[in-house]
């Protein structure tokens, strides 16, 4: 039995406990997933309170749904959170390509670089932030789930409801899009 399998069994037990009202099980699940789900929602909504609410709703739904996840919990949580975020954005007529300032907690200055490098890095990261803000959601979701949330290809496929080859192809296209846009807007030749 691999560690991953153990984690899933562990999760299944936690989930069962959580759905029966166990505070301890709920606390352990929250400890594990609340922060990533909140962060994921924040990247969509750029609004702390709203992101918190959607994260909360996602866990509430986990407790009350008639169709709880039977296997891996992670894709289920991301899928529910993403759908809800997209729903909110649609309702608010916000562009699904995120034409708004991309909200992160990132401090643009590098930790060790000197002043001039910091400026260059800062500009480049600002550009990148703008490109990500304007990126089609299907590219952005796959990059987020892969590189920020650390999901496997299978988990991403389950989250997005597509096949693994689709995820693989989309990752390449999204990365290429990022590279092309970065070149286009900055002329930077790394």
């Amino acid at each position: 039995m691999t560690n991953e399998d153990t984690a899933i069994i562990d999760e299944s037990a936690l989930l069962a406990g959580y759905r029966k009202g166990s505070d301890e099980a709920g606390a352990r699940l929250m400890e594990r997933y609340w922060s990533p789900i909140y962060r994921f929602c924040l990247s969509y909504l750029s609004d702390d309170a709203l992101a918190e609410d959607v994260a909360q709703e996602t866990f509430t739904k986990l407790a009350s749904t008639d169709e709880p996840p039977s296997g891996d919990l992670k894709p289920w949580l991301y899928k529910v959170a993403r759908n809800r975020c997209l729903d909110i954005l649609r309702r608010h007529e916000r562009s699904p390509t995120f034409n708004r300032p991309f909200r992160t907690g990132f401090d643009a200055a590098g930790k060790t670089a000197g002043p001039s490098t910091r400026v260059a890095n800062h500009e480049r990261q600002e550009l990148l932030r703008e490109i990500i803000s304007a990126m089609p959601e299907e590219y952005r979701s796959v990059l987020m789930l892969k590189h920020i949330e650390g999901l496997s290809r299978l988990q991403i496929a389950e989250t997005l409801g597509v096949s693994e080859p689709t995820v693989k192809g989309r990752l390449v296209r999204a990365s290429e899009y990022l590279r092309e846009e970065l070149r286009k807007v900055s002329g930077i030749q790394p």
């Binding site: 609340w34 922060s35 509430t60 309702r91 907690g105 990132f106 920020i148 390449v172 990365s175 290429e176």
Partner: protein, 755 residues
Amino acid sequence: MSCDMSRERLWTWVQGEDDDASSRAEIAAHVEVCPSCKSELAEMRDILGDLESVVAVPAKAAPSIPDHIGDYRVVRRIGHGGMGVVYEAEQSEPRRNVALKVILGGQHVSELQIRYFQREVQTLARLNHPAIAAIYDAGRTEDGNHFFAMELVRGASLMDYASPLGIRERLMLFRKVCEGISYAHQRGVLHRDIKPSNILVVDDASAENRSSFTLPFTSSATRAGQPKILDFGVARIMEEDAASPTIHTESGRLMGTLPYMSPEQAAGHPDQIDVRSDVYALGVVLYELLTGSLPYDVRSASLLSAVKIICEQQPVGPRAVNSDVPGDVSTIVLKALAKEPERRYQSAAALADDIERYLSGQAIHARPASTTYQLRKLVARHKAVSALAAMLLLSVLGGGIGMMIHANRIAEEARKSQRLSAVISTLYESADPWKTGRTDMSVLEALDLKSKELASELEDDPLVAAAVRNTIGNLYKGLTKLEPAELHLQYALETRRKLLGDDHADTAESMNDLGELRYEQARLEEAETLWRQALAVRRSRLGDESAAAAETLNNLGNLLRRKGDLDEAQEDLEEAIRIRRRLHAEAQTNPHANARQRNKARNDVAQSLNNLAGLLRSRKSPDALAQAERHYREALRIREETLGSQHPEVGKMHNNLGKLLQDRGDYAGAEQSFQSALQILRGQQGIGQNHQFVARLLHSYAEVKLAMNDPAAARALCEEALDMRRRLLGDTHPETIESMKLLESITGAVAHNRR
């Protein structure tokens, strides 16, 4: 890339997505020796590295949830807003789950927030209605936070719930919201923050049986829902406010959510906020419910420009956004959204009532804003139009271009008093020779000049252009300049048809007016088609008993009479008279009607009486002629009383009565009437010597004199008629020939007398 390695393979490899071990080894070996790929790879790694640092968000723990608040065991957090956090909690006695609303920040909350909170408690405690979430309890937490327990609403947000519903079901749902708000209004409670997120909907049947909180993730299929209005947090109790001036001051700040704010609320006038402010917010909610969008997009606007938009911009009709929205429903929404509170529904109950009327197939009370009202609103925004209209008026009234130097002053006056609608309608009356007794060519010249300018000025606003050109067309029609009249009236009708559809009161107005032109042009079939269409639309949009429907009925009756269909014509005219008598009686007793409106209502009766009398005259039977005489005499009396004894319309009535008396063989009576008519009409500038009508009058008078065996007088009258007809109509016109023949008879009679 100078080598064969594709960037796709490199991206896949660098992101750890290459599943083939030999491929991975191949790429790893290749990039070691290929400078180009090495460089590509470095760029890719930089990008991915940056991506992680740009998107990374510091970890944040889940908000802690207290075990208990007061005597309640907290189950989970439901959400939070500006005022506090909301939890689902269990109450032990009575055993039930409740929503607990806690003001965040403990003892540090402002006094204002606490006052709001306490007010919310007091307010909600007084309300007990199925559409309002009930309050159970209030208190303070251990750390000094205020909380209250309220009905836990197991429902979806209004918009989520409504998404699978049709227009009709949405209206039924919305009507229940209005009922809840109306109930609160009747108890002196305003909501002041009505918006979709403050309205949840529960399934009627299943609400009580479900044990868990239902989140708005999914929308149910079509069903009956019970809305629950939440968050009376900013509502005020009106009678309390009256005794609390400080609250007035504090509530002057912008509360609630901007897109749903009434103009008076957005402009920060708390003293002007009343039930009609909630009616406005309901209008915005209904707009959003029907179209999926807001009447104005103020979300990205600055506060100042948002307030300006809310206070000044006219919303696009919901029907223009979603063509599934019926015209009547669009009218209802726009009435609720009127800028001025007095033009809105005066209560949520009145709004609910009109929706109910629509749902049950009855005529709604709301009316589309009239053309003149829309004109006034639009002109207030397009000052240039106002100036042009004032100049047009001046040209018409003053009859000279020289007077235009005062245009600015007049325009300023017009702007100040927002009376352009009156200006435009006065224009019409001013230019109609039958109303003023003047046919001044300078009026025509000014009209020709200004109508072109107006038309081009209004190019970007086709509906206003249509309204103005409809008026101008009528002006030309009144001046018997049928060609330009046709141009403007046709434009107005086509534009309105295209933008408003056939089934609209303004389109019907243009149909009616173009019909009048066709009638003048003796294109009777076209006139009949237009009038029948106009009548149907006016009846359905404005009511069977409306003044507009009576106007078209009157026209149609006249036309049918001319076609010889006397029975239907008589029916229509009698119906028009009945409606107009009723409208006149209403105007007499309506304290808001002014003298002009009362006179107009009375003159409308006279017009239809005159037409019916004309019809009865053509029936020729003694009874019909006797009836006709009564109608003529009543019409004459009305005209004299309302217009004065020297008005050209009175002259016309004398003439008509004279013709009838001539038919009845009462030549002395006829002569008296013709003389009165001539005396009035000869005194009218532009009519007396130069009008087809006067020629007809002279011709008839000549006939009477001949019948009275006074061929000399008859001859003088007939020669004058013939001379006028030759000049106006030419030698070959039937009326000219008619006078020639009469002159022959008179000459014959003179010869006979001599013999």
